[in-house]
């Protein structure tokens, strides 16, 4: 086998003639390409909803800091379709968004406490977080289940 290179110079012998490293390089190139093809994944289109939890969790707070925030409570139930209760008043998601928008404002700071049934899927509660963000309520926490 002979290979012609750039300036018409001819090489004799297989495996690259006097330049066998070219074939090692091509092999490596193939392997790298294969690696990238196999591991390729289009950049994840992930976004995030920022939220601030009230600190403390289930541990009783040891500090007594005055909390002037007005507390709003929302209860979420249902598994396939969500049912919402805003301050004990039943509604759907768009109704909840309207109620949150109507209840906030006036220079007052608000804190939303979300309670839920044990088997409620996370997406229904996340929709509440989204509604809170829309109503410019930054602090939105979970009220733990009574076990």
């Amino acid at each position: 086998m002979s290979r012609k290179h750039g300036g018409g110079h001819e090489e004799e012998g297989g495996h690259g003639g006097d330049r066998p490293w070219v074939f090692f390089m091509v092999d490596c190139f193939f392997l790298i390409t294969m690696f990238f093809v196999m591991t390729f994944r289009v950049k994840a289109d992930e976004i995030a909803l920022p939220q601030r939890l009230p600190p403390g969790g289930s541990k009783p707070s040891t500090t007594s800091v005055a909390d002037t925030k007005k507390k709003l409570s929302i209860h979420v139930s249902g598994t396939a379709d969500a049912k919402y209760e805003f301050m004990s008043k039943g509604t759907n998601l768009s109704g909840l968004q309207d109620m949150l928008a109507g209840s906030t404002g006036g220079g007052q700071e608000y804190q939303v406490q979300v309670s839920y049934d044990a088997e409620v899927p996370f997406r229904h509660v996340m929709a509440v977080f989204n509604a809170c963000n829309k109503a410019k309520i930054a602090e939105c926490g979970l009220r733990p289940l009574r076990r």
């Binding site: 390409t33 289009v42 289109d45 976004i47 009230p54 600190p55 997406r123 996340m126 979970l142």
Partner: protein, 168 residues
Amino acid sequence: MKRPQLEKVEVDMVPMIDIISLLLMFLIIVGDTASNASSIQMQLPREMDQAMTDKELVEKKGLRLEGRIVVQLHPDKEGKYKAVISNKSYDLVKDGGNRLLIDHLERVVSENIALGHYKKDEKGAVDAPVRLRIPEDAPMKDVELVVMSLARVGLVNVQYAADSKKRY
């Protein structure tokens, strides 16, 4: 009979290498391999119109992303949800049984406070950002255990991961 003359075959490698180089460059630029290798594939909640990209979180909300702790919720083979942090999974057990998860988070927080990366305010809130990756179908009884563990350690700056794709 005259023997057919065999033509010498020449393989020109240059265009092939050019094409492979372009392919490689495309895959490196467009692909997302190492940076997201620890992200578990899951169906995140969708249609969250208030959710933002990392760039928007920094520019519009003034949040910082350095030193972000990523906590993922993932079901095991039996369908039991576990918290996953840096490829290590932690059982979610009610009634304070999350001790291993809380201990790990407390260790991370105290180490970073000592290094000056995070700060704790008078209410006990730590300014470290936490990205929570929770599947949309995860039951709240399991989600609660993770969120309460975070709040207990003082990690209150939570970013709930969502999928930007719309549901059709």
